[in-house]
Amino acid sequence: MSKIHVTAVVNGDTAEFLTDPGTTLLDALRDELGLTGSKEGCGSGDCGACSVIVDGRLVCSCLMLAAEAEGHRIETIEGMAHSGDLHPLQQKFLEHAALQCGFCTPGLLVAAKALLDTNPDPTEEETRYWLAGNLCRCTGYDKVIRAVLDAAAVLRQERRAA
């Protein structure tokens, strides 16, 4: 069981690390690359706290082996704000108080970003279904949904202005 050398693009930068075959992408991100924003809630793909985007596709990093990341492009919560400027989703989560303990928040933000990357104007129903795999025990979800729809409106406006 020798270590596997993995090269991937993480938040736009090339990252290299050594991993055991049995290490998940989530554990490699946290323990090898120090990116501790992605959380382990359940470890079985039910809660979404470990959500990351791989080649544009939303996945649970606890349900992917680190070795599978070879050659792929990974976006985590750490790549969302740019040089101190919060992403509109992060800003709207603050304004709507769409978090309390914060444990699910990185996963919700990454999942919501994946939604708005492909669907800039989702309905409330589409947003609720899209985020059904992200569990939050604090907010009751309403504030989260309002924050995502509000951020979508901001992003549409920014796009029109650009």
Binding site: M1, I4, D20, P21, G22, T23, T24, G43, S44, G45, D46, G48, S51, V54, R57, L58, V59, C60, C62, L63, M64, L65, A67, E68, E70, A111, A114, L115, Y129, W130, L131, A132, G133, N134
Partner: protein, 289 residues
């Protein structure tokens, strides 16, 4: 997680060799079942063979005859984004897209859903009703087998040592044909089917049903192809009398368990109800073409 060797071969022949080399080896597609089972200690493979670097194991291809070939490790999200596939096989795609969350859809595959061999696998009744076949590669070469021949019982398949499902084939469709899949769960998302029903129909120009296939999930140790339920619909329109015969044939085929998700009586009744409703959806879709 228990330790194992990870290999990601780039040819199907190398994957077959790697699978044969370790008797406990497991095939990895999307990992949404296998990785959970390994973490829980229920699966302890010596080697994990990742299929996703093998050409053909991922992606959707339209064949010259109008049929489709789907790589066994293709994610549900990719299926849902293929407009031609969604149009030709709405039932297969809606069944695959019911599995788990958006995150799970980013990884979970038809091959994994079938080989995990859960009686409640959502995509399997739709594939069986669609008359889909599996292209299986193994030490003896390549063979093609109907999807309904793969499950042997909960968690068990009929695949022989070293055999891998590389892709699925969906046949070409007549002009007026469509399919549908419905499942019952106590909420709207993120649950396991209490009962699932897949129906695929073909109609003539007058709306008479010329072909009908009905498959039921979660009502027996394996997903059922219920020939009598299909025959109940062939030769006429979707009348109340035909639906009554379909309902009775679906119920007669059930051999479910009692568990926390549903009793034997409940599952049996619901199998008839879902078969009727899925048939109505498939019929309306076919008529609209």
């Amino acid at each position: 997680m228990p330790q194992f060797d990870y290999v990601a071969p780039t040819t199907i022949d190398d994957a077959v060799k790697a699978l044969l080399a370790a008797p406990t080896a497991k095939v990895l597609a999307g990992g949404t079942d296998l990785i959970v089972q390994m973490r829980a200690g229920r699966a302890r493979p010596a080697t994990v063979v990742d299929l996703k670097r093998i050409p053909g194991a991922t992606g959707v291809r339209r064949e010259a005859d109008g049929g489709f070939t789907i790589g066994a490790a293709t994610s549900g999200a990719v299926l849902g984004e293929d407009a031609a596939l969604v149009r030709a096989w709405p039932g297969v795609v809606e069944a695959a897209n019911l599995i788990g969350s958006t995150q799970v859809q980013g990884r979970a595959s038809l091959g994994g859903n079938l080989c995990n061999a859960s009686p409640a696998a959502d995509s399997v009744p739709a594939l069986i009703a669609a008359r889909a076949t599996c292209v299986i590669v193994g030490p003896a070469g390549r063979r093609e087998a109907p999807v309904e021949t793969i499950q042997a019982g909960p968690g068990r398949t009929t695949l022989q040592p070293g055999e891998i499902i590389l892709e699925f084939r969906l046949p070409p469709r007549p002009k007026r044909a469509a399919d549908a899949y419905l499942r019952l769960i106590p909420r709207t998302e993120m649950d396991i089917a209490v009962v699932g029903a897949g129906v695929s129909l073909a109609l003539d120009d007058a709306g008479t049903i010329t072909e009908a296939y009905v498959s039921l999930g979660a009502v027996a140790p394996t997903t059922l192809l219920v020939a009598a339920a299909g025959q109940a619909l062939v030769g006429g329109k979707l009348t109340d009398a035909a639906l009554e015969k379909l309902d009775a044939a679906a119920r007669a085929a059930c051999n479910p368990i009692d568990d926390k998700r549903g009793t034997i009586d409940y599952r049996t009744k619901i199998a008839g109800v879902l078969a009727r409703r899925a048939a109505a959806i498939a019929y309306n879709r076919a008529e609209a073409r």
